[in-house]
């Protein structure tokens, strides 16, 4: 299979969906003149004219207008530049987009996608490094996805654009230049379904986004010690694929949840709670969470590394659920 970058994969998804449906359009800051900070919009302006637009620095307008456009016959894709800036448009997301369909009794569909580049990269410090799914997971009415590879990036973006509901699409900034196999033929990655990246018998690691590959590396290393890890790549964070997670935990009896976001109040808490509610009697150890420490992401490389979850943290958690010496 051919390999392309994550960034190119999202670009292909955009191009295919914009060709397929003239009501799909995309806008955000510095995406036309610059092609996006990671080149993820390069070439679209030449083909699609005013269906790709630069927006001035107006995040509330970007997100708020996506709702108005989605209610009136188009399928907007709005780029947030950095996921951190979602905070600027929090009301638009939490009180307008997420609630519109429900509070008006289902009068309209809301086919929109908010693309949100997230995660730690290049010592970008506290306001450009966050993984903010925890802010949003508490809001009924949003679908949240996070691809982990070029193939899932393309398939999930296409599915998100076609869904008649609001989707927040978190794309980890470290993933953009990474290459991976992507089918030539058209495909969709289903929303709401996790993928098992690596089957295993001893411990389940539930993870997503960039952490998937870190966990895979840990799993490979642990295999040489005779520990057989199963890795679940959630892909959809909300609603997450409970069936796949629970089935796996019932098989391995041990689980670690790993994400780059802050542990406190994060998705890991939700997953761990679900497991203890629905698979408590299958567990041989407490479910452990691995994530960033409970401070903002600091600047200095030394500090950043200390706060961000590392492979070693995942490894230690696996040992602990196996009741082994760390």
């Amino acid at each position: 299979m051919r390999t392309i970058t994550f960034s190119e994969a999202t670009l292909e998804a955009m191009r295919e969906e914009m060709r397929r449906d003239p009501t799909v359009f995309v806008y955000g800051e510095d995406i036309v003149r610059q092609g996006g900070i990671f080149g993820q919009f390069k070439g679209l302006p030449e083909e699609f004219g005013d269906r790709i637009r630069d927006v001035p620095i107006s995040e509330t307008a970007i997100v708020g207008a996506a709702l108005g456009a989605a209610l009136t016959g188009t399928r907007p894709v709005a780029d947030m530049h950095f996921a951190d800036f979602i905070g600027v448009a929090f009301d638009e997301l939490a009180n307008q987009i997420a609630k519109n369909r429900y509070m008006f009794g289902g009068q309209a569909n809301i086919p929109l996608v908010i693309r949100a580049p997230d995660g730690i990269i290049n010592q970008a410090a506290a306001q450009h490094s966050q993984s903010v799914e925890g802010w949003l997971q508490n809001i009924p009415g949003l679908i949240i996805v996070a691809p982990s590879s070029p193939a899932t990036a393309k398939g999930l973006l296409k599915s998100a654009i076609r869904l008649n509901d609001p989707v927040i699409y978190f794309e980890h900034k470290v993933l953009y230049p990474q290459k991976g196999p992507v089918p030539e033929e058209e495909y969709l990655t289903p929303i709401g379904k996790a993928e098992i990246r690596r089957p295993g018998r001893d411990v389940t690691i539930v993870t997503y986004s960039l952490m998937v590959q870190k966990c895979e590396e840990v799993a490979t290393e642990l295999a040489s010690e005779g520990i057989d890890v199963e890795i679940i790549d959630l892909l959809t964070l909300k609603p997450f694929d409970r069936a796949t997670v629970l089935e796996s935990v019932k098989k391995t009896h041990r689980c670690v949840v790993a994400h780059e976001a802050v542990v406190t109040g994060g998705l890991g808490a939700e997953i761990a709670a679900t497991i203890q509610e629905q698979a408590f009697w299958w567990l041989d150890a407490p479910v452990l969470r691995v994530g960033a420490k409970n401070v903002p992401i600091p600047f200095s490389p030394v500090l950043e590394k200390f706060v961000a979850p590392q492979k070693d943290d995942v490894r230690r958690a696996v040992y602990r659920v196996l009741h082994r010496e760390v």
Binding site: E59, G64, A65, L67, G68, N100, G105, P239
Partner: protein, 343 residues
């Protein structure tokens, strides 16, 4: 209240008398609806919060007379008048206020979320200033799809102090979006008078900062509102971009039903009721024009009363939703497909 003298093409005057009567009819229907809602709320028949549009009817009426069903509006927490003028059915509105299954939102919205998307009424909004960018998005949709639809955003004087106002007007201006921002300057934002809360003398003065046209008209004179809206909506439809229309008016009722109104005197309110009531003013105009007589006016009130009583009867006889219906309508797919969504 003084208005900047804006002169628009005089289109009201050329309207056939049925259209003029239609304007009055709409204003009276809104007034009758709101008066009944106030009574029902005080009698504890309607729960929640209710913000009345009494005294401001000329604005929704004069603007909406220039829109078709395919055009859109975004509304505010004070949205009943906008909904009625845009063509929503009073019976389904009343049922919503009663929390019934037959209401526009199946009982999930209530007064602050009244909406009828089928006539382009994209919703009241419980968040002040929440409608600006929704209207901008609707106008953007018209531009992307190359239709000649127009969006109108209604907003209060208080809302004009939100940051969303700034972002929406700037974006609409640079893209020349077909949207009209209609400010209902009713002199108060809850307890806060405009004289305290507004840095400019007029909301319309702010238009200059966005390079768009801004006008102030007497919002209690439906003729002025009609002419201004007709001109500005026409321009928007022709691709000439957005504008800001400030309509000076007065909220004669409390901010919400039950407001103790400690921030103003009874005399101030009574003077406005006596001298500036938009329905009285317009009825007088129509009588002087010879379009209306006492019997005609009484008939309009009687018909409105009949309609609203029927709306109340419809609401009261409608069933409540089943409690489990609270779990429906969150997404386009059913909870059965995705049980994880709603635990």
């Amino acid at each position: 209240m003084e208005s900047t003298q804006a002169v628009f093409p005089e289109r009201y005057i050329a309207l056939p008398s049925e259209r003029k009567m239609e304007l009055l009819r709409t204003m009276i229907r809104i007034r009758t609806f709101e008066t009944k809602v106030e009574e029902l709320f005080l009698n504890k028949k309607i729960p929640g919060f209710v913000h009345l549009y009494i005294g401001e009817e000329a604005i929704a009426t004069g603007v909406m007379a220039n829109l078709g069903k395919e055009d859109w509006i975004t509304s505010t927490h004070r949205g009943h008048g906008h909904a009625i003028a845009k063509g929503a059915q009073t019976a389904r509105m009343m049922a919503e206020l009663f929390g019934r299954k037959t209401g526009y939102c199946k009982g999930k919205g209530g007064s602050m979320h009244i909406a009828d998307f089928s006539v382009g009424m994209l919703g009241a909004n419980g968040v002040v200033g929440g409608g600006f960018n929704i209207a901008v998005g609707a106008a953007l949709s018209a531009q992307i799809r190359r239709t000649n639809q127009v969006a109108v955003c209604f907003f209060g004087d208080g809302a004009s102090n939100r940051g969303t106002f700034h972002e929406a007007l700037n974006l609409a201006a640079i893209w020349k979006l077909p949207v009209l921002f209609v400010n209902e300057n009713n002199q108060y934002a809850s307890t806060t008078p405009v004289s305290y809360g507004l840095s400019a003398q007029h909301v319309a003065d702010r238009a200059k900062g966005y390079g768009i046209e801004g006008y102030t008209v007497d919002g209690n004179d439906v003729r002025q509102v009609y002419d201004a809206a007709s001109y500005l909506i026409g321009r928007a439809r022709e691709g000439k971009g957005p504008a800001l229309l400030e309509c000076l008016t007065y909220r004669v009722k409390g901010h919400y039903v039950g407001d103790p109104e400690k921030y103003r005197t009874r005399e101030e309110v009574q003077k406005m009721v006596n001298e500036r009531d938009p329905i009285k003013l317009f009825s007088k105009v129509l009588m002087e024009e010879g379009t209306l007589n006492d019997a005609g006016l009484a008939k309009l009130y009687a018909e409105a009363e009949e309609e609203i009583l029927a709306a109340v009867a419809f609401a009261e006889s409608s069933p409540y939703p089943e409690p489990e219906e609270a779990l429906e309508d969150l997404f386009s797919f059913s909870p059965k497909e995705f049980p994880e969504v709603i635990a």
